[in-house]
């Protein structure tokens, strides 16, 4: 899951100290009434208001639903956001309106639900007077469940898709359906009947989701509330402005920054880390903005991968396949581009692609702001040029250059939701068939996302022909000495990287370039 990371990795010490500090609040929490400095977590659960004041800050939405609310329709299959058995739908008011998205409940923490709405599989029958919802009926009719354990998760992903298209009065095409289901594993059916169910769900009498009603309820939920949730197990701060965030960061350098939780959730579920101090980034509207000027597409650090994808698709269609293969829909719905970049995993997908197009990143702290090339952020394995009080706030992606050819290629065992063995972003500019500018970056080949400086140096000024490409492939060995792990051997990584460079050549050579249809097994997305 490393490449889905959305949180900023920070060392965090003195946890014991913090825990002790908050012991004093225990009493306050228990009689959490008027005058309490503590936040009462307030959200809609299946359309009804719920208030929570006694869960540990890292309690997962999944265990809350199952253990505290007896809503056992939502299942645990992996507790790491990779199987989708726990898929629920979260709705929230965003600047562009109400958004509904499928989410893995196993890696979301309960306090982050504040101000949002959660829908579980139990809601659907209620929505249709006790009868099966069209999505459910279609799954029954098409024999889409066998053991049934993954089924509620599929139902929720499809329900989200159904509502989205019903609102837009459209019908999803097969690729939309496939994309919506990339986060749901089924071991029994082989997926065919589920795909057929998705086709059939619009063939029965429709059930309309009450968007307006939900919007009103969510608006009513928006009340002034302390920004800190305290519990004996720790604190979760939810700043609402960047300034507030930076101050908190300065005050709590040991705190864990939490955005989509797609990495942090695993720390809790799998590594049993106790996070006694968390700063949640999801309530800061400034961090969700996407703007554009004549040079850059500016993506704020809290923008989800799904939204970043949408913003970049029209400028960089070359990235579309990467986005489709980047984790899964529910992970992209919560994971942020800023988190992926700030985590800086050597096997993350976005960095090599963005480095190849000279992306810049803005770091902010109470001391001010500074901007650097994305590649300069990464110093060594999981080490970044980032001070303890700094936070990634903005990613500046240059608009495409007219004469630049850009590609990114992902290599993994499986098409959907698989961490790359090798990932690369490559951009080249030719001037009269000579290489005038080139940027090649790889993931999975070194301890950090890293540019192929020797190879680039070699290529500059050369004629972009077969002999050059073949030579460049061997020089690539000077740039990387990859490792062997469960995803690929060192040798295979090197050979694949060289071959990907060759593919890039074939697709971008001035004479008789090969089309995507001739080089890409997976075709157009």
């Amino acid at each position: 899951m490393e490449n889905n990371s959305t949180s900023h990795t920070k060392s965090y010490a003195s946890l014991i100290h913090c825990t002790r500090l908050f012991r004093g609040f225990e009493k306050v929490n228990q009689d959490n009434q008027i005058g309490s400095p503590n936040r009462n977590i307030q959200f809609l659960l299946n359309n009804e208001i719920v208030r929570v004041s006694d869960v540990e800050p890292t309690k997962s939405v999944l265990s809350y639903l199952r253990e505290d609310r007896f809503l056992t329709g939502t299942k645990e299959g992996c507790a790491e956001g990779d199987c989708g058995a726990c898929t629920v739908v979260i709705a929230e008011l965003e600047s562009e309106g109400l958004s509904l998205k499928s989410v893995n409940a196993c890696i979301q923490f309960v306090p982050t639900l504040h101000g949002k709405a959660v829908f579980t599989v139990e809601f659907l029958r209620r929505q249709n007077n006790g009868n099966l919802h069209p999505v459910q009926q279609a799954m029954v009719d098409k024999h889409g469940s066998q053991c049934g354990f993954c089924t509620p998760g599929f139902i929720m992903s499809l329900w989200c898709l159904y509502n989205e298209h019903q609102e837009a009065k459209t019908i999803p095409i097969r690729s939309d359906v496939r994309s919506a289901l990339t986060g749901n594993l089924c071991r029994c059916t082989g997926y065919k009947p589920i795909l057929q169910a998705a086709d059939a769900m619009f063939e029965v009498a429709p059930v309309t989701f009450d968007n307006d009603g939900l919007r009103d309820k969510l608006l009513a939920l928006k009340t002034e509330s302390p920004s800190t949730y305290s519990h004996t197990e720790g604190q979760l701060h939810s700043p609402t402005t960047t300034a507030e965030l930076l101050q908190l960061r300065a005050d709590h350098p040991e705190a864990t920054l939490l955005a989509g939780g797609t990495d942090v959730g695993l720390w809790v579920n799998k590594q049993f880390r106790t996070l006694s101090s968390i700063i949640y980034l999801g309530d800061i509207p400034e961090l969700k903005s996407i703007t554009q000027n004549d040079q850059y597409i500016n993506i704020a650090a809290g923008v989800t991968l799904s939204n970043a994808y949408k913003a970049l698709a029209k400028h960089y269609p070359e990235m579309n396949q990467m986005w489709e293969r980047f984790a899964s829909r529910p992970i992209r719905n919560v994971g942020t581009l800023g988190g992926n970049i700030a985590n800086g995993s050597p096997i993350g997908d976005s960095m090599p692609a963005l480095i190849a197009i000279a992306t810049r990143v803005v770091l902010s702290s109470v001391r001010g702001q500074r901007e650097l090339l994305l590649e300069d952020l990464y110093l060594d394995y999981m080490k970044k040029d980032m001070a303890a009080d700094e936070v990634v706030t903005l990613i500046k992606i240059p608009l495409p250059l007219a004469d630049q050819a850009f590609r990114c290629y992902k290599l993994s065992k499986r098409y959907d939701s698989d961490i790359s063995a090798v990932f690369t972003g490559m951009a080249i500019t030719l001037d009269n068939d000579l290489v005038s500018d080139v940027k090649i970056a790889f993931g999975g080949m070194a301890a950090t996302p890293k540019r192929a400086s020797h190879t680039e140096q070699f290529l500059l000024g050369k004629s972009w022909d077969e002999a050059t490409a073949k030579q460049a492939m061997t020089i690539l060995k000077q740039d990387y000495s990859p490792m062997t792990d469960m995803r690929a051997s060192d040798q295979n990584r090197m050979q694949s990287a060289m071959n990907l460079l060759y593919r890039f050549y074939l697709e971008t050579r001035p004479v008789n370039p090969l089309t995507k249809e001739m080089t890409d097994v997976f075709g157009e997305v």
């Binding site: 265990s63 199952r66 809503l71 056992t72 329709g73 939502t74 299942k75 645990e76 299959g77 992996c78 507790a79 790491e80 990779d82 199987c83 058995a85 599989v121 139990e122 029958r125 099966l132 999505v135 459910q136 799954m139 009719d141 024999h143 469940s145 066998q146 053991c147 049934g148 509620p152 496939r178 289901l181 990339t182 594993l185 071991r187 059916t189 082989g190 997926y191 065919k192 799998k270 049993f272 290629y409 290599l411 065992k413 499986r414 098409y415 959907d416 939701s417 698989d418 469960m486 690929a488 051997s489 050979q495 694949s496 990907l500 060759y502 593919r503 001739m518 080089t519 097994v521 997976f522």
Partner: protein, 759 residues
């Protein structure tokens, strides 16, 4: 009522989240949670174990070790070499060493990581071939020889020898292993367990707690997938939960986290093959010799029957006159491998398919031609290496049908033309057949019981010894009962499997669920039907043979009465309206020493055609189209059977392509979660997937003349692997045999391509 594509009996519950799995049951007050402390060494004597930190961890109520087991510290299904908790010696990383019980699930798991164990390391054997070299086996090797293979090989005009590796496979049931044990009065225990084998769980728990079987009740409503992984290996968790519940006299739930589940439990056996084959110029096999070495893991578990089935499926659909098949169950310091859909059958059959593929390329022929001339005959060349006559062979007509319906030959030429002009991407096509033996290879397992209750209101309850894991067993059994009694399916309800109802049940395994339990339920329903018929004749006259049960009515030429009314009258007449039923598969015999006999009542057949596209630069690939044709006999429920066929195909494809198990050099499983272990996902299912059931009726007296369908279609996935190999071979113009091992990951594919290009 019968032979209809009724939805799964739980479909509406599945889709609404109302279907209860073991973890969804409302917990009894005072429930505690257990977690397993695991070995961190692949092979070691434990010098000392410091559990103080575990005990001191928040919420911990108890920490138990081997010495706290009142009965036998073993849960092995056949051979007693499977300690529930390691006692001094650990034999793989992940082996259960202690169990901790806490107030919450997370507290128990957190505590389980806090042990300090001092290991006195011993040499670890991590690879099957190393184990074979060291003659380290979990059971004696087995060998089946027919004819004079050595002599025939020596005299063959053509010969081909080499090696092949085929990887294992994690079951990846979506619902992890779980047992929930509630202590009852008088030292009895109620065990809710996600298992394919409640009776074996009952036995294991009773042995561990030193109880009679009648003190342990195991109940299984449904599993969230089993695939073989919950046949024997649910036992350790049932035992651990029971030991804790017994010790504390409190309800204890043991639910495995996914990573722990994958670290502890066994998988499909990987196989290493060493082959030598002789054939004539037409490609007819004259003799074959194969050595199969399989990774049993640290204990025997089900490895011997798995290897036996592999031996009995090396022939697949082909007549092998002179053959020498040897199998070795290598003892390695890794998880103890276990049942997984196909149970060695796929591993046996894929080897011969690989050899057929080799012969074709050596002779410059289409592999399909080689397949066809080696098929079993209908009246001659029809005895298997283990001596069973193949009496129901339909592989010729089945192949002919799919050859035509898939447009095999036209596409074969088109693909060859495409490959000539496509520089980077290459296409491949393959048609592979299957023949799969149905019955447990152990004769006495082939028995089943059922209970049918007809209540006075006409509603019917059926209980049987099989378990529901998604395969639709309960739906089919209910259909059988509704057919016999002529009532709507909706009035027939299947109950959870329960060892206090039908006793001494067999595992729901070997594809036999419907065959055995359907017959037993039919038998029970027929007894009730007979009693109702007698009453009908008493009331209305006529002959029993003229009575028809249909459309919720009972009638003959002159009289008609509703089923419900007849039932009511029967009750008033004090006629027994419930019955037991029993079935044992006829005609079976098996000599495990000579590996001969009739282990299978009948065979199921199938074939598939797959077309793939590969990237010769990276080894990435995509399935473009697949055609599946499968013999489910006279299907009781075509929709359910098609679901089995499609699902098994994709699962078989996953085994041979994306699913790769890797261990670190120290023997720790590195692929222990879905983030690192990749089962097929939605985009692995092609848009163009054409599935059809072969029009057939079982030649034998099977339940409603249907055929078992759970495992056989897993072999349909072969065609994907061989289509990939075909595409790779195009790089060298089909003149060389690519050395492609399974799983055919991008790395394996690229390596096979590189192997071809080198001089």
């Amino acid at each position: 009522m019968s032979r209809k594509s009724h939805p799964h009996e739980s479909a509406a519950l599945h889709v609404s989240g109302e279907a209860s799995y073991a973890d969804d049951l409302r917990e009894a007050a005072g429930t505690l949670y257990a977690a397993v402390g695991m070995s961190e060494s692949a092979h070691a004597n434990i010098r000392s174990m410091d559990l103080a930190a575990v005990k001191a961890s928040a919420g911990v109520v108890a920490v138990l070790t081997a010495k706290d087991i009142p009965g036998i510290n073993d849960c092995g299904p056949i051979i007693k070499d499977d300690p529930i908790l390691a006692d001094g010696l650990v034999q793989y990383i992940g082996q259960a060493v202690f169990v901790v019980v806490a107030e919450s699930y997370m507290q128990a798991r957190r505590a389980a990581t806090k042990a300090v164990i001092d290991y006195d390391e011993l040499p670890a054997v991590l690879k099957p071939l190393d184990a074979k070299a060291a003659e380290s086996f979990v059971a004696p090797p087995m060998q089946l020889v027919r004819g004079s293979p050595q002599e025939k090989l020596a005299n063959s005009p053509n010969r081909n020898s080499g090696t092949l590796s085929v990887g294992g496979q994690e079951q990846f049931y979506l619902e992890g292993q779980i047992s929930y044990v509630i202590p009852k009065e008088d030292n009895q225990f109620h065990v809710y367990c996600s298992t394919q084998h409640p009776t074996e769980m009952q036995h294991a728990v009773a042995h561990a707690l030193k109880l009679y079987f009648n003190q342990v009740l195991v109940e299984t409503r449904r599993m969230g997938g089993g695939f073989g992984g919950k046949e024997s290996q649910s036992a350790i968790f049932a035992c651990l939960a029971a030991i804790c519940a017994n010790h504390l006299n409190r309800p204890v739930k043991l639910r495995l986290d996914r990573d722990d589940d994958m670290m502890i439990t066994g998988k499909r056996h990987c196989f290493e093959y060493d082959y030598d084959i002789g054939f004539d110029d037409d490609g007819k096999i004259l003799a074959a010799k194969i050595e199969m070495v399989t990774r049993a893991g640290y204990s025997a578990d089900l490895s011997v029957p798995v290897a036996t089935r592999a031996v009995c499926h090396f022939d697949n659909a082909y007549y092998l006159s002179d053959v020498d098949i040897a199998a070795f169950c290598a003892k390695t310091n890794t998880q103890s491998n276990t049942a997984f859909r196909g149970f060695g059958g796929p591993q046996g059959a894929i080897a011969i398919e690989y050899l057929i593929d080799n012969i074709a390329r050596i002779l410059g022929k289409d592999p399909l031609d080689i397949r066809k001339i080696n098929y079993y005959g209908k009246t001659s060349r029809n005895t298997t290496p283990y001596g069973q006559t193949v009496e129901d062979n339909v592989i010729h007509e089945l192949t002919a049908e799919i050859e035509a319906s898939s447009d095999y030959h036209q596409r074969h030429s088109e693909i060859q033309a495409f490959n000539k002009t496509s520089p980077i991407l290459k296409k491949g096509l393959a048609l592979t057949p299957l023949k799969f033996g149905i019955s447990f290879n152990v004769v006495h397992f082939n028995q089943a019981g059922a209970l049918v209750h007809v209540y006075v209101d006409g509603s019917i309850l059926v209980n049987h010894g099989g378990t529901e894991m998604g395969q639709g067993l309960n739906t089919k059994v209910a259909q059988v009962v509704s057919h016999v009694l002529g009532v709507d399916l909706g009035i027939v309800r299947a109950t959870p499997t329960d060892t206090s109802k039908v006793a001494n049940t067999s595992a729901t395994a070997a594809s036999t669920g419907t065959d055995l339990n359907g017959k037993a339920a039919e038998n029970a329903a027929l007894k009730i039907r007979k009693r109702l018929c007698d009453l009908f004749v008493e009331r209305f006259g006529g002959e029993v043979d003229d009575i028809l049960f249909a459309d919720n009515n009972v009638r003959n030429g002159s009289h008609e009465i509703s089923f419900n009314e007849l039932v009511e009258q029967a009750y008033l007449e004090r006629i027994q309206l419930w019955s037991d039923g029993f079935y044992k598969t006829p005609e079976l015999n098996w000599n495990k020493d000579t590996l001969t006999g009739r282990p299978f009542y009948y065979y199921a057949y199938g074939a598939s055609v797959s077309e793939v596209l590969i990237d010769t630069l990276t080894g990435e690939w995509k399935l473009l189209r697949a055609d599946l044709l499968h013999d489910a006999g006279n299907s009781i429920n075509p929709a359910i059977d098609m679901g089995q066929v499609e699902g098994a195909f994709i699962q078989g494809m996953g085994w041979l392509t994306t699913e790769e198990l890797k261990w670190t050099p120290k023997g720790k499983l590195a692929t222990h979660a879905p983030s690192t272990y990749k089962i097929p996902a939605v985009n692995d299912c092609p848009d163009d997937l054409r599935v059809k059931l072969f029009d057939n009726k079982s030649k034998f007296d099977t339940i409603m003349r249907s055929k078992a369908v759970g495992e056989p279609p897993l072999l349909l996935g072969f065609s994907v692997f061989f289509a990939i190999r075909d595409a790779i071979a195009s790089v060298a113009d089909y003149t060389q045999n690519p050395e492609l091992n399974a799983p055919a990951t991008p790395e394996a594919i690229l390596s096979a391509i590189t192997g071809l290009q080198q001089p």
